[in-house]
């Protein structure tokens, strides 16, 4: 029987999404500060 591991799958994708998005936001923020 296939185990229900959906919660871990969602959590991993959310965590990865947050890390990548956070980095893009940090680039945007630093760029904005530099341009000012």
């Amino acid at each position: 029987m296939t185990p229900d591991t959906t919660a871990y799958y969602y959590a991993a994708y959310v965590a990865a999404g947050l890390l990548y998005t956070g980095y893009v936001v940090s680039l945007w923020w630093r760029g904005r500060r530099r341009r000012k």
Partner: protein, 231 residues
């Protein structure tokens, strides 16, 4: 250091342009394929799909560190500021990707191995890689003099990349819990065709996205240098 020439004034180049947004859409497309158009693996269930982003992040980290090492060698040889700037940019993206690897891995390990973490050779070496890459960026932030910063960090960048073959081969060199490679191995990939296609798409999408991140970070480094020159 030799001073680079630019065809466009750096301040006129946006950090995020059309190519960057194309890369974002590529990643979103890969995720849609993973979620909606790729079957579950019977023994592991949905958690197996973590593989597609976990391995894509690992390969992106390896490639980014290979760029760090190559550009560091180029810097030590030619003393070209562009090489050092590219090494710094790739180093930051390598740290991001290694963090993704170390974050997504435990979400697979908990349901499959029954534990979030184990001091297995592959996991431990990857953690060491994270610390060395973080040290590389800390070292860069700690030295003000550009020439000294570039020289010292180049050496550390080359040493960090030397860990990559050991990490990749650790599953053969040591008795580990971590699964053996199922695509990047001497034999044929052991994934079914539709899963293999999803894997290839996700790796290409994430590699392109990380390349765009390095490009944006490089432009940010240019802006910072201009600001430093102006003050």
């Amino acid at each position: 250091m030799t001073s680079p020439t630019h065809s466009l004034p750096p301040t006129s180049r946006p950090l995020f342009d059309g190519l960057f947004f194309l890369a974002v859409f590529g990643v979103l497309g890969a995720v849609v394929r993973i979620v909606f158009f790729t079957p579950y693996e019977l023994a592991q269930g949905a958690a197996q799909k973590i593989y597609y982003i976990h391995v894509a992040a690992a390969l992106s980290a390896y490639l980014a560190l290979a760029v760090v090492a190559t550009t560091s060698i180029v810097f030590l040889w030619l003393r070209d500021a562009r090489a050092d700037r590219l090494a710094e940019s790739a180093g930051e993206v390598a740290l991001l990707c290694t963090t993704v690897v170390l974050t997504t891995g435990p979400f697979w390990g908990k349901p499959i191995w029954g534990t979030w973490w184990t001091w297995d050779a592959r996991l431990t070496l990857t953690l060491f890689l994270w610390f060395i890459t973080a040290s590389y960026l800390v070292l860069r932030g700690a030295i003000d003099e550009p020439m000294m910063r570039a020289r010292y960090s180049s050496v550390l960048g080359i040493l960090a990349a030397l860990l990559i073959p050991f990490i990749h081969l650790s599953v053969y060199m040591f008795r580990t819990l971590h699964p053996d490679p199922i695509v990047l191995k001497p034999d044929r990939p052991s994934l079914p065709p539709e899963m293999l296609l999803t894997f290839v798409i996700s790796v290409l999408a994430f590699l392109f996205f990380c390349f765009m991140l390095v490009r944006a970070r490089y432009r940010l480094a240019l802006l910072r240098e201009l600001a430093e020159e102006a003050t």
